[in-house]
């Protein structure tokens, strides 16, 4: 299994632990990722707010690079990248005038968009291409006794994803169960983490992060598992501010790929676990 890999800016910066855990875990499962050569920023939520046409062209350059690289599929682990690349394909399909313009602009540098390159999230690939059974077979250190709240956030399931349910996704639940973890049932799986508002308008943004943490704690979670670098940051980096404003709700938030790596027996430091502010503590293995 071979995929083009679109890391996005966060996986090289604040979210580098996501990349550090994703790459070895997928390699361990026989999935080959080849980083897209000279990829550029997807535009995230900010570019679309300023210029729609350029936002499309920006994302489309990456799709054209994937085509030039001969990739049949592109993997985007960051929720914003995943959404924007998918959104751009939908948008170009629906607006022939925009497609003409974007194709013309790409043509000035000899890039073209002649076919669809499916953009997929690692959760989708792990569940549907690799399969839960193959993952279960690789587990050497089951996460028994660890109660995890699976947090999908917004842009992976809405509005373009077809691999899971929009209101009650379960792909990560299945994955975590295969790792031996206990999945905590909580209703905030797809609620917004606050996005970039945690930095720009903390009074509004941090409240959303606080509510997620509070509910996960109330339901007995030991940790939250996330699929997005911004969600991880918002739920991990602002505990001091949240405690000062409301109440302490300390809980580690880790990437689902870090939990996979641990269950596969990989050492924590090779999975970027030392980069989180709230450390993950695994329950002591129970005597058989």
């Amino acid at each position: 299994m071979k995929y083009g890999y679109f890391p996005g800016c966060s996986l090289k910066g604040t979210g580098r632990a996501y990349e550090e855990s994703l790459l070895p875990v997928l390699r361990h499962l026989g999935v080959e990722l080849v980083e897209l050569e000279d990829w550029n920023c997807c535009g995230a939520t900010a570019y679309m707010a300023v210029d729609e046409g350029k936002a499309c062209a920006l994302a489309a350059r990456n799709l054209a690079l994937a085509e030039r690289g001969g990739f049949q599929q592109l993997m985007a682990p960051c929720s914003a990248c995943y959404l924007v690349l998918n959104k751009t394909q939908h948008y170009l399909d629906e607006s022939p005038a925009m497609r003409r313009k974007v194709e013309g602009a790409l043509g000035t540098v000899s890039l073209k968009l002649s076919r669809q390159t499916p953009v997929r999230h690692p959760l989708d690939v792990l569940l549907h291409d690799v399969g839960v059974e193959a993952i279960r077979q690789k587990v050497t250190r089951p996460l028994s006794g660890l109660r995890v709240a699976p947090y999908y956030g917004c842009q992976v399931v809405r509005p373009y994803a077809t691999f899971d349910d929009q209101a009650n996704p379960t792909s990560m639940d299945q994955l975590l169960k295969a790792l031996g973890a206990e999945v905590v049932d909580w209703p905030l799986k797809t609620k917004c983490c606050g996005g970039s508002l945690t930095g720009t308008l903390p009074v509004a943004g941090l409240r959303l992060a606080y509510l997620l943490l509070k509910e996960a704690k109330k339901r007995g979670a030991d940790a939250i598992a996330t699929v997005c670098p911004l969600c991880q940051f918002n739920l991990d980096a602002y505990h001091d501010k949240i405690a000062a404003r409301w109440e302490p709700v300390r809980l580690p938030t880790v990437y689902f790929t870090q939990l996979m790596g641990l269950a596969f027996g990989m050492p924590a430091h090779t999975l970027g676990l030392q980069r989180g502010f709230v450390p993950l503590e695994l329950p002591a293995p129970t005597a058989a």
């Binding site: 910066g13 939520t45 300023v50 920006l58 790409l106 509005p159």
Partner: protein, 199 residues
């Protein structure tokens, strides 16, 4: 003392044609089908902070209240979680309409000065435009210095901790073919032949 404000809108406050213009943008057409049910406001995690709820924004756009909509903080509070878009019984792409309104507010200079969200959007775009990639540390530092210089010092602690965990850097990332990206962007600026790109 509290200032007195007129709370009822006059016919003269409307900018005729504004609603039709927004509804002609691809993705925004279905706004005409809005039944004012309020599902969007109900599912929106940020509506509690908005001056006009999403439902009200939909009505205001349709009724041409351009100034009220473009100067409202609602459009900037939208975090693009798409909850309203997937729940809308009329399949109105509310998130995309919010994007369209953000673009117009920036183009026409309607947003409150020093309000950090539109400043972030513009700084973000400048960085992508010039370098092809975002260097998060640089971007956030710029944003704070521009909009909340007094709070920047308060963020230093977080910056230090991020640096300690290898997650913060002021180094600017660049793509190799910056010239290519610039040419693509230039071509997008050029007027389209046979259409305005928004048919």
């Amino acid at each position: 003392m509290k200032e007195i404000q007129r709370t009822i809108k006059y016919e003269a406050d409307r900018v005729p044609g504004f609603g039709r213009e927004v509804m002609s943008v691809p993705g925004c057409e279905k706004l005409k089908d809005c039944i004012q049910c309020g599902t969007c406001s109900g599912v929106c995690p940020l509506s509690i902070y908005m001056d006009h709820s999403p439902r009200q924004v939909m009505a205001l756009v349709r009724e041409d209240f351009k100034r009220e909509v473009l100067s409202s903080c609602t459009i900037w509070l939208c975090a693009s979680c798409y909850a309203c878009t997937v729940e809308c019984p009329q399949q109105i792409r509310i998130t995309d309409i919010m994007y369209e309104l953000k673009q117009r507010a920036i183009q026409e200079g309607f947003y409150p000065k020093r309000f950090p969200i539109p400043v972030l959007a513009q700084e973000f775009n400048r960085m992508v435009h010039d370098h092809g990639r975002i260097s998060e540390g640089r971007l956030v530092t710029k944003l704070f210095l521009k909009t909340k210089p007094l709070e920047a010092a308060g963020m230093a602690g977080l910056g230090m901790r991020l640096m300690k965990t290898g997650r913060f850097s002021l180094k600017q990332e660049n793509i190799r073919d910056r010239g290519d990206l610039a040419r693509i962007m230039e071509a997008m600026d050029a007027p389209a032949s046979g259409g305005n790109g928004k048919d």
